[in-house]
Amino acid sequence: MAQHLKSSSSRSTLLNVLRHNLGLGSPSHASRHLRHNLPHNPPSTRVSPNPLTRLCNTMVDTLSSTSSHEDANSQVMDFPGGKVAFTPEIHFISESNEQRVPCYRVLDDNGQQLTDSRFVPVSEEVAVKMYSDMVTLQMMDNIFYEAQRQGRLSFYATAFGEEAINIASAAALSPQDVIFPQYREPGVLLWRGFTLQEFANQCFGNKSDYGKGRQMPVHYGSNKLNYFTVSATIATQLPNAVGAAYSLKMDGKEACAVTFFGDGGSSEGDFHAALNFAAVMEAPVLFICRNNGWAISTPTSDQFRSDGVVVKGRAYGIRSIRVDGNDALAMYSAVHEGREMAIREHRPILIEALTYRVGHHSTSDDSTRYRSADEIEWWNKARNPLSRFRTWVESNGWWSDEAESDLRSRIKKEMLEAIRVAEKTEKPNLNHMFSDVYDVPPLNLREQELLVRKCVKSHPQDYPSDVPL
């Protein structure tokens, strides 16, 4: 800008700009120089007499190994950003690798441990809690979903099919890791100790809801459990998580920030903003993508044309892994290892967990309108994360049919009681409509509260009777 160029004409500022551009004396979160030219295979020798077609016939190369390019014609030169080797060939990096990035898994589809699988071991205690919480999450979802169908809840969104992502990731984290959820990760709260009653209170928006009745169901939050309150806007939590991670790093904490999002969320601008910032700021943050194949009715083929989300990490200089999201052990290991790297090395990690959204997007959606009931059923039955993990847990002698039925009957009882209590607990007081907009209500809100109360006195029939005044 003309204006700022004029004002930044001082010698020292010019020098600073030059210094930075040449990568000398760069700031503490240093610019990463490209150490290698992007590697490619040697071009094919298809030659045509016409120079124009020869240009068009130039081969497109694919990314292969990380060996540096050794072309006799190559020279190396400095541009801002670091040294690059030159090449006389016109090579376009292919839009995709020949092979899709493989997916890390530990258990096969039937829950048998793969012979050459490597994973972080889990104790009996942890494994049983993981499995129990997956069952609890599924049952909680079932019962709340039904409650909505019956008209007792205004809205609900289930996490069917994603129980392993929810629980196993939570299990691999420490309680000090701060969570920035999207909205399909209540299992993380469950793992940390949020009770069924607390879930129900938020869903019914009663006076025991920590959110004070301000938001729709499933918009949970708990400062006690380091789980930031859900907001429905997609991917807005991603850059927030990066800032929080930076804070943890600066405060020297042995913890990271963890943020979840879906395949749809990876299309948002905030995804790009967050990953780029995380890399530059060297922030200890885990980006966990639940690629469940659907963003409401939009399949991933309408969402992006990359090989899923995992390949996007490299574009930002972020270490990434693709994992079977329906494999609890693989999820656990990936998150465990990712977390270690994030904290120890002060770096972001991208984890793409492949899964399937078995449920509808929410109670406002009937997904049979855009996908077949058979497809849903197949994922629900044949690729179910619960049954896979249960097989493995039982194979260790840590679970049984009896344990299963005991658990299920206990959870059902607890859930029904939680709903009964939540339903009849009164709503938050009207004054909570006006509190917390700011730390202290300003004059305009105090005035408006008076006006509203006056109106309620005159027209009580216009107002719900279960909101105490």
Binding site: H29, H219, N240, L248, D270
Partner: protein, 358 residues
């Protein structure tokens, strides 16, 4: 033409500092008050130095902030406090504000810079849907009150569409944030420190026109000017004028000219637009019976409309004339036509007279 030249050529006396009776200063000082003659960017720079030195968990960042910033507001900060606390960010406003919200959510003070208010819009989602609602939606379990977003705003003589905007009205419509606009160096330092320390997210617009043009005696110590308190910077009886930021300088000139024609003007600096001090304006209008609001932002949907509607509700029977608004026009901010677009001293003077003679 003459007024345009004079705008460029002379350093402006700040409104309320030399002319007419002034209300008691609202600055609070502790200890001896050493003052120094500073321009706006230096005053802001001082506030940032103080903010960083008084809270070790405070951060300043944004595009080009490291070398001092395109307007020099962040000069010396990185050298003094280190590049972990004062740093450049990638060119991405939604990232800057989103990152700042995350830092603030962890109890830090994040003072983020948006290079020009014209570029704040990518961050609008973060501001409206995250920052403004962070405390409310969580039931006060969480908050990002430590967030302050600074941005240069307003006409600069040659800025055109994308270096001149006054977007304050968009933000005044968002419950949960505060909007603050200082008129001068001394005000800016005190208001910025208040904004940074206020437990609510604040959007702080700095009149870029005044960065170098306005010079004032600014106390060197740590002081704060309260938010949501308007100030009567010139007393009068015939008409109340309300404005903020750089426009107050223009309005004050109009008041001086009006005085020569026997019209006594009361001039109010609103300072905080959200939540705004209705009481001070109401008291004044009940005395004068007339109101004129002036801002650079386009008149339709501008913040002047909110002030007008509120005062109408509260002072209807005391009003001798309709509320007058002398504002920017409903066009994108033009380059060659800037002098026609702007709410100039003479436009204001004409409006004062027609209001008084209604």
């Amino acid at each position: 033409m003459a007024s345009l030249l004079s705008r460029f050529c002379r350093k402006l006396a700040v409104p309320g500092s030399a002319h007419g009776a002034r209300m008691v200063s609202t600055t609070t000082s502790c200890g001896s008050e050493t003052v120094k003659s500073l321009n706006l960017y230096s005053a802001i720079n001082q506030a940032l130095h103080i903010a960083l030195e008084t809270d070790p968990r405070s951060y300043v960042f944004g595009e080009d902030v490291g070398f001092g910033g395109v307007f020099r507001c962040t000069t010396g900060l990185a050298e003094r406090f280190g590049k972990n606390r004062v740093f450049n960010t990638p060119l991405c406003e939604q990232g800057i504000v989103g990152f700042g919200i995350g830092l603030a959510a962890m109890g830090n003070r994040a003072v983020v810079e948006i290079q020009f208010a014209d570029y704040i819009y990518p961050a609008f989602d973060q501001i409206v849907n995250e920052a403004a609602k962070f405390r409310y939606r969580s039931g006060n379990q969480f908050n990002c009150g430590g967030l302050t977003i600074r941005a240069p705003y307003g006409a600069v003589g040659h800025g055109g569409h994308y270096h001149s905007q006054s977007p304050e009205a968009f933000f005044c419509h968002v419950p949960g944030i505060k909007v603050v606009i200082p008129r001068s160096p001394r005000e800016a330092k005190g208001l910025l420190l208040s904004s940074i320390r206020d437990p609510n997210p604040v959007v702080f617009f700095e009149p870029k026109w005044l960065y170098r043009q306005a010079v004032e005696e600014v106390p060197e110590h740590d002081y704060m000017i309260p938010l949501s308190e308007a100030e009567v910077i010139r007393q009068g009886n015939d008409i109340t004028l309300v404005g903020w930021g750089a426009q107050l300088t223009v309005m004050e000139q109009a008041c001086l000219d009006a005085e020569k024609e026997g019209i006594s003007c009361e001039l109010i600096d609103l300072k905080t637009l959200l939540p705004w001090d209705k009481e001070t304006v109401e008291t004044s209008v009940k005395k004068t019976g007339r109101l004129l609001i002036s801002h650079e932002a386009p008149v339709t949907g501008g913040f002047g409309a909110e002030i007008s509607a509120t005062i109408l509700e509260r002072c209807f029977l005391k009003l001798e004339a309709p509320v007058s608004r002398v504002c920017g026009l409903d066009t994108p901010f033009p380059l060659v036509f800037e002098p026609f677009y702007m709410p100039t001293k003479n436009k204001i003077l004409d409006a004062i007279k027609s209001t008084v003679n209604y």
